[in-house]
């Protein structure tokens, strides 16, 4: 009888991490859009600080997640029926990561530079919004890999005997 596989398999580190940067970076993008319309001078710096903190934490977590994704890729690509979806998932994840990383750098420049502040500000916000659309598509492709092709998913035996 087959054993129930461990929940600490290499390919499962990715789903353990992936939801954090998705949520954090999306929230950062939403706050960045809100920030555009905030006119209250007392409130705006705190909003900016919050979105910056979310952005930087999200970007760090993103690249950790990207690394776990590469580990999972090597395993899952050998078992799924259409690896082209996984390739697209990897490509758009890379695009999202670059987009948010540049946004983070521009955000840093916005804070510490005295020139071109508007350019850094709007550039950072634009990239966060673009990155959010990309990351949404990445999530959709990741969902296709798991829910259509069973990537990384254990298929129990027909009589579920291993769970007795």
């Amino acid at each position: 009888m087959a054993d129930i596989p461990s929940m600490w398999r290499t390919e499962l580190w990715h789903p353990m991490f992936v939801h954090f940067p998705l949520a954090i970076l999306s929230l950062a993008a939403v706050l960045s859009v809100v920030y555009l319309f905030v006119r209250n001078r007392n409130f705006a710096p705190y909003l900016r600080f919050s979105l910056s903190l979310l952005l930087w934490c999200g970007v760090v977590l993103f690249w950790v997640t990207f690394y776990t994704g590469q580990l999972a890729y090597s395993i899952v690509v050998r078992t799924i029926c259409d690896p082209t979806v996984l390739k697209d998932h990897l490509f758009w994840a890379y695009v999202s990561g670059i987009s948010f990383s540049i946004a983070a750098v521009l955000d840093g420049l916005f804070k510490f530079s005295s020139k071109f502040k508007n350019w850094f500000n709007y550039g950072s916000i634009l990239l966060m919004v673009v990155g959010t659309f990309c990351i949404g598509y990445v999530g959709h492709l990741g969902g296709k890999v798991v829910y259509q092709q069973g990537g990384g998913v254990y298929q129990p035996s027909e009589n579920c005997g291993e769970f007795d």
């Binding site: 705190y46 760090v60 690249w63 590469q70 799924i80 082209t84 390739k87 990383s101």
Partner: protein
């Protein structure tokens, strides 16, 4: 309500920035970074059968080869536990595969995935 001192938070922000730069550098310089760029390349899907070509790239860590077939197609092949690799009629280990070698591969197309059944090193 808003008595948070933003200046005091500069150090954690700088720490995060340093961590980010380190991570991006790691991704860019590490072997994982270069392998992810090759993984993103578009490769060709062919029907089940036997193909002859050249080992364009060999990735020992991933047990993966890219084969450029004689008709110009690029095949990305991940070895499985069932894949048999031979050289001069004998079983060979993956280390025997080198970039530029002529190979003959017998493939099975499963969905959009190409599974190498046998790989013969021809030279």
């Amino acid at each position: 309500m808003f008595n948070l001192n933003v200046r005091k938070m500069k150090n954690p922000m700088l720490t995060l920035a340093a961590l980010l730069i380190a991570l991006v550098t790691f991704q860019a310089c590490d072997g994982g970074g270069s392998s992810s760029s090759t993984e993103m390349e578009n490769t060709d899907i062919v029907e089940s059968g036997t193909y002859t070509g050249t080992a364009d790239r060999v990735d020992a860590d991933e047990k993966e080869i890219y084969v450029k077939t004689n008709d110009g197609k690029m095949l990305e092949l991940y070895f499985t536990d069932q894949t048999q690799l031979t050289q001069n009629g004998q079983q060979a280990s993956f280390d025997a595969l080198k970039q530029g070698q002529k190979v003959e591969v017998q493939l099975e197309k499963k969905g959009q995935r190409l599974e190498p059944i046998t790989v013969k090193i021809l030279e």
